[in-house]
Symmetry: C2
Subunit: 466 residues, 2 copies
């Protein structure tokens, strides 16, 4: 008769003292003395370990000695009230079964390895305190996002990953092909023929689901995407990934005020979810990674976000320059704000999150709704402390003629985009939406500094390991 | 002062009769008479329309006439109790604002178009009753899946989309590259050089997240993936997509009985969620698409799934053949079951879902746990009425030597797979998991017949439109 396994997270809060239970997990540490052995066991369900207290006279000495950090065990024992500080319960061991020993070359054996070292072992860093915390929080943020949109009547909508359109212009794209590259047939003009490629034309990985998201919103009313997106930029920075996850809600009948309300309400919901549901993991990260993490998260909840036009933002920055503030990048109306400018506004001037609106049209995408001034568009980006732009949003131009005016002025390649224009042709409606880079949110919520440390297996230039 | 919009789904259940409300949406039909106009308005929040009752003497005649199927309106009016059958409330119109008219060439104007026709207008079919129902149910199934795993202590885990490994062998893969195909440098042996490709080697789109999912499970305890996967097979059938979404849970310390329990409990939860949360949409589909749909869904909940070894299944099929049953594909121990065999067992012999287990090892993947007989592996596939295999699962071989034995016997290309083998080297543990094709589930739950009709923008050979 096999005993049902108890997860460590449940065993640690159980007060069924005196009862026998079975826990399974990996050894985080093993301390021996003549009278007693202590094994700290973790099963990934929580950042906390459960302590297994072993009477060495009851266990084969060689077996006990072979149990080193990283080994995998099943332990049956009696749950007892812990004498030590910081834990409610521990297990007085009766039986140990070893599922797998762990050789001495285990790469995660030593504590305090650098994050750079651990990236080489991304499959095993998952077994450490820091990365366990990060990826449990990542899970919780995904749950918060789905829950928020579901509760607010949005439908989760899967936009395509492989795309034949390239008009978003958000960045360099990866080509997707099944062609035999050793035998590329060309037409009379020397162009590679794609009629025999899988899709019969050139295709790429999507850089954004927004345009297809608009198709969903103008039918189902309110949708959101949550899927992978891709940028083939050769950027080796702590902020760039070639493959990352995006959340892109899109809402019919939403205008600029409502869009800003949605952005603020949504992101506060996510941050509150983390504080409510990830206490142990956040406390660990607050202690080990960033001492101001929890205070910063709580700060976001307390404040109303500042709502500031781009024009007003530029005025503040220009005054700061006059007063002696130095920026690397020049400030004047019409420039795209650099991270240093955004952070000055958020971290120094206002000391709270800012929703910046009404940008010059030439620094924003073709689909944004043009204001009556003819110079600015209804963008609504959310700027956060530490990370700068966390959300990029806008009201969309729903007027067919105005949209086509921008398409033509900018030479946006629209030949395969008849379906996008159809939304403005058949029963067009005001609508708006935004994009949130999921890993940006995870950086903010965990206090981690490098985006490669908040996705399990990062894809970056020259790196597609695992 | 603008009035807050009320969604149609809320207006229809409101009993605030006499109150003025504002609804917005698209016209599904407009019937005129001298005394009164009826406009059926839908905003995607529900399959039901709200009826707008218009006194034509109060509205500009040309404007009213211009409001045709597909037009987008904002209507202010008084919520009144409906006199007609089948609806509780309707709106006595006071003001109409037209957001967008709809020209006469609107492709969704006529009712009863074929699904094949509608696929050409996948962006507009979203505005029809059938596809609105399908994609609202698709949303609900995604919510059920996240909710189930979250409640059961699984962590949502993002495995990579772009991969450099190709050992899964589940199908043909799409190549991902940033190389300039007009200038492909080769080495002395005539091989294309990939050191200057984005990732410094050949990369493809993933066919499954399972192997990376095992890395998550052997650290976090229990994870699930829910992401896009890709097969570059030239299959033009109602069951194949080149891009589809998969759910792949993976659980440490789970053995075969527990895996079967998980599969059955999970899928019943999803089906129950649909019955509990998608009543209006299911009733529509039951009436219009498949009269036995709801009964079939309820049937799944009522029955314990049959648990049947492959060997026993073959015996039943062989006896059926002896008794006169005709199959196109021959039946004998060792063959991979065809869809006709699976459906015979599920729809004729048992008349309930079947979990088939312990397959011959040579028809299953290299990573499945080998039974003591040395001939069979601990696969656990769930077979459903109508669609055959809906879940493919197995216990994984956790023993390093046994796993390597299969790798070598089958010549599995493992050169880039050191990280997978590490899980068996450092603290190996028993674990198990399964894969569910999301669109297969949606086919079952909606009664739709073609997989291209349950994903918003299907990718199939020669088709990457939208």
């Amino acid at each position: 008769m096999k005993m049902k396994r108890t997860k460590v997270v449940d065993a640690l809060v159980s007060t069924d003292f005196g009862k026998d239970i079975n826990v399974k997990g990996w050894v985080r540490s093993h301390r021996s003395s003549k009278a007693v052995d202590f094994i700290a066991l973790n099963d990934g369900s929580t950042i906390k370990n459960i302590q297994i207290v072993v009477d060495p006279s009851l266990v084969d000495a060689d077996l006990l000695k072979s149990i080193t950090t990283g080994a995998c065990l099943s332990v049956v024992g009696t749950l007892v009230e812990s004498q030590g500080a910081g834990q409610a319960s521990e297990i007085q061991c009766k039986e140990i079964e070893v599922y797998g020993l762990c050789p001495g070359d285990y790469p995660m054996q030593k504590k305090g390895q650098s994050f750079e070292y651990m990236r080489k072992y991304a499959h095993l860093r998952l077994r450490t305190n820091t990365f366990g915390a990060v990826f449990r929080i990542r899970h919780h943020m995904a749950m918060a996002i789905h829950r928020y949109f579901h509760e607010h009547g949005f439908f989760y909508f899967h936009t395509p990953i492989i795309t034949a359109s390239d008009c978003e212009g958000a960045g360099e794209m990866f080509q997707v092909t099944t062609k035999n590259l050793y035998n590329l047939e060309k037409d009379e003009e020397g162009r590679i023929k794609y009629d025999d490629d899988f899709f019969g034309k050139t295709t790429s990985l999507t850089v954004s689901g927004q345009l297809e998201g608009e198709l969903g919103a103008t039918a189902l009313g309110a949708i959101y995407t949550f899927g992978p997106t891709f940028r083939a930029e050769n950027s080796n920075t702590p902020r760039h990934l070639a493959e990352f996850w995006m959340i892109e809600p899109e809402v019919a009948f939403l205008e600029q005020q409502g869009l800003m309300d949605l952005e603020e309400d949504f992101i506060k919901y996510c941050v509150k979810w983390a504080l409510d549901n990830c206490k142990d993991d956040l406390e660990f990260l607050n202690n080990m990674i960033d001492k101001s993490l929890i205070a910063r998260l709580e700060g976001v909840l307390k404040e109303d976000f500042v709502r500031l036009t781009y024009t007003e933002g530029i005025r503040i920055l220009e005054e700061a320059v006059k007063a002696g503030q130095k920026f690397e990048n020049p400030v004047s109306w019409g420039v795209d704000l650099a991270s240093e400018h955004e952070r000055y506004l958020v971290e120094h001037h206002f000391r709270k999150p800012v929703i910046m609106t009404d940008y010059p049209k030439d620094i924003k995408a073709f689909y944004m709704k043009i204001n009556e001034d003819g110079r600015t568009v209804q963008g609504t980006d959310v700027l956060f402390p530490q990370i700068g732009e966390i959300i990029g949003g806008s009201v969309r131009e729903e007027n067919y003629d105005k949209l086509m005016g921008e398409v033509e002025r900018r030479n946006v390649p629209m030949k395969d985009m008849w379906w996008y224009l159809d939304t403005r042709k058949y029963g067009t409606c005001p609508h708006a939406g935004f994009g949130l880079g999921f890993e940006r949110l995870i950086l903010f919520v965990t206090g981690m500094q490098n985006i490669r440390d908040v996705i399990p297996f990062p894809r970056t230039p020259k790196n597609a390991e695992f």
